[in-house]
Subunit: 231 residues, 2 copies
């Protein structure tokens, strides 16, 4: 258990390049938190005071719009961190984090992390790099949303999900986390109806198999071609 958590700290990009000793020191300051399925780890608008690494389960990062609809930004895997901005004072979380299954999370006080960052510049660089990478990813998706059709956007979302959550099976690649049609719709800014229609069509063509809250990818290459016709 302890060793498992230590591994998470050691392998997280934020703590790369630090001494084994420091890793242990960091872990000793962590709390462990459990979250029920559908429970909220964080609510949009909360003051950002804690930094998290997900130890177990899956989490959805969602953004509520003023008119009540929502946007699904991304999923969090075991091992992924979240809430780096807690090292800065006075900010709010811009999104909510909702557990999909039963989750276990390592938690640090933002202030503590800030102190560590002052003593170990490497952590600051790591944090900056993590944010930069995320920013670039978001910019790219922004561009895709502005310039591409729904079908293409859905293909792109699925390709990304396969990379993040894909699990090889004898039949193809399965997403190992329950994802409804509505989730997919909220990721690409469309309706569950349109998602359903497109998946049905792809199923006819033999590219994917649309299951109950699951998607099985049969021909990933075809999907990638749909996602990026230029190639």
């Amino acid at each position: 258990m302890y060793n498992q958590h230590l591994l998470l700290v050691r392998q997280n990009p934020i703590f790369h390049g630090l001494s084994a000793q420091l890793h242990e020191h960091i872990l000793q300051h962590a709390h462990v938190l459990k979250v029920e399925p559908n429970g909220f780890l964080i609510r949009q608008g909360d003051p950002a005071t804690a930094f998290y690494i997900l130890a177990q389960g899956h989490i959805r990062l969602i953004q509520l719009t003023p008119d009540g609809s929502q946007v699904l930004l991304r999923f969090l895997n075991a091992g992924q961190e979240f809430g780096v901005i807690a090292v800065l004072s006075g900010l709010e979380y811009p999104i909510s984090a909702q557990a999909i299954e039963h989750c276990e999370v390592l938690v640090w006080e933002g202030e503590l992390l800030a102190q560590l960052m002052e003593q170990h510049p490497r952590i600051g660089f790591n944090a900056l790099r993590a944010m930069a990478v995320q920013n670039q990813e978001l910019q790219r998706r922004y561009q895709e949303m502005l310039t591409e059709r729904v079908e293409q956007r859905l293909a792109q979302a699925l390709v990304r999900l396969v990379r993040q959550l894909g699990q090889a099976t004898t039949e193809g690649t399965l997403l190992d986390c329950p994802i409804s049609r509505e989730d997919l719709a909220e990721m690409i800014g469309t309706t569950l109806f349109t998602v359903s229609r497109i998946l049905s069509q792809w199923e006819h063509e033999g590219v994917v198999e649309a299951k109950w809250k699951k998607v099985l990818i049969l021909r990933q290459q075809d999907l990638e071609r749909l996602a990026d016709p230029a190639e």
Copy 2:
């Protein structure tokens, strides 16, 4: 001249909270660069090796898509910084920076800034905060693009532009930087035709006045209501 540049360094968020002495030291390591109208300060894909503060003029940050169209992410004002990621090694600029008018830019080597950051943690925090704020802004726009209609998105884009570039005149607020219908279209993911139509309609209603490469906002409140009907 020197004093003007010093002011830019002093007032830039990245260098907040540092000693006057350090500000001067930083400025002494800056180069000055001039860019012709339509010239590129940075091209998407270049290795990120330099950090910039715009001293004079306006710059468009654009992103080229694989299929040749482009997305306009934002404009840079005199005083605004750009390219913080240059302190990190191995990254590429994800976007291009194109001068609109004749521009003057302060430039620092990324490595130099990295050294400064190691000695002065405050710079790292400032950089992190700047990226976080930008990230939040981008996330919000992402959400808006996914959930809102073209008319609303255009209103939002204009409201933002007014805040950034607005100049009060006797008739209303004018954007002090030439912006074509196509620019607006590329900001919100539509076509120049649709932008033209919507502006014409608003002009009939007396909300704005659509000029040659300019927009004059007559009734900002109405525009804000269009941008955010919830209020």
